[in-house]
Symmetry: C2
Subunit: 211 residues, 2 copies
DNA sequence: TCATGAGACGGACTGTAGTCCGCTATAGAC
DNA sequence: GTCTATAGCGGACTACAGTCCGTCTCATGA
């Protein structure tokens, strides 16, 4: 496991917040890594929703309070575990090759993002569910959501300036909710069908030409 | 309060399931109404999320077990309280005047539904959040969600047969998640802006002519 | 090396959702 | 009216998330 999540943890955006007031203390770092490792292991062994934070604390050999101070709540821990993968996608968007990265037409960048995100989501649904559902509205407060939102809002404004870009970005993110993905899977939808359906809808929404 | 939710409760669709095996027992009915009344009162007085089921059971003068057997879980209780209002909307859709009811072009029926739903949602966000968030995927299992989905799927198939109607109906319902509505409100969006934004997007998605 | 205080530690504690099961009330048969 | 099978009742119980605060550790500077 990479040591991705910095001190005081909240840098979920992958953008390093400069001037962190104080470097992370050695014991804090040690414990953070122990917890992350224990969580990853237990989640893999028993399934995310079957593992309590008590169990993780015990397996990590730290107190419960430590887990909570570090990660805030269940969602925070899930976010920390997802961080590494999300940061990768964020990097590709910000400076990777088109169509995900800059250079391609807006509509193509949007659909490339949606494809990639759905794939990520599909691989880690359980973790995403934890990260989005823990407390009310958790999903929309997470740093990465804000980042995806900003990215989409810019592209929407470019492709269809007559739309309310800010709202429309939320609109496009809505079908990426982990809950929905999970429900659709258990209704028999597979990843490819969701990708196709989403691409078709969003293309109609943003493209110049109608199908 | 109307005595809307029948015995064994699960008829959230408003469509009376015929041949209920046995009529509701008198004590059961008495308690069901007591719980519903207590819940409505406490929710109004203290806000939905500040009221525990313990408190409701106590206020209703019944045991906790009674509340749970009747309603299953927190979501079930919320659904029961919403049922009455949702049934109204369902009736208007099934047999009311156009554009909500039959007779109007598909696209207009869809946007009329979205407008009406958003208004309902806006009036009862807290209750909707409870009903959608309690257990994983609760939202998608509720009878009314299935009804809205079926309704939209039919209209989508009519307006844009080349789309995957089943998926697209889920896509259109996604931005109606109570969580999102709440998050947008606390970000400063008002109901009108959401209605306008949603109408614009869905119209583009389904209409023949581009804007 | 040691003193010191900021900050981390950990586990007991609280509050809530949801389960379980021995007991009770009810409805229907006679 | 009485009997009885059945559905419903209720509260003690479990498990988990999240809080609190007295104690201990580390980093720093003298």
């Amino acid at each position: 496991m990479k040591d991705s999540t910095g001190p005081r943890s909240v840098s979920q955006s992958g953008l390093p917040l400069l001037d962190e007031p104080r470097p992370e203390r050695a014991d804090a770092r040690r414990n953070r890594l122990k917890v992350l490792e224990a969580a990853e292991r237990l989640f893999a062994e028993q399934g995310v929703k079957n593992v309590s934070l008590d169990a993780i604390a015990a397996a990590a050999g730290v107190g419960k309070g430590t887990v909570f101070r570090r990660f805030g709540d269940r969602a925070g821990l899930a976010v920390a575990l997802l961080d590494e993968r999300e940061v990768e996608l964020q990097a590709k968007i910000l400076s990777g090759p088109p169509p995900l990265g800059p250079g391609a037409p807006a509509v193509e960048r949007v659909t490339a993002f949606l494809d990639a995100y759905l794939e990520l989501l599909d691989r880690h649904v359980e973790l995403f569910m934890d990260s989005e559902n823990a407390s009310d509205g958790a999903r929309y407060r997470i740093g990465s959501y804000r980042l995806w939102h900003r990215h989409l809002a810019i592209l929407v404004a470019e492709a269809r300036p007559e739309l309310d870009a800010d709202y429309t970005a939320h609109f496009i993110l809505a079908p990426l909710a982990a809950d929905l993905h999970d429900a659709l899977r258990s209704e028999g939808f597979d990843l490819a069908r969701m990708q196709t359906g989403l691409r078709a809808s969003v293309t109609r929404l943003l493209a110049d030409q109608l199908a």
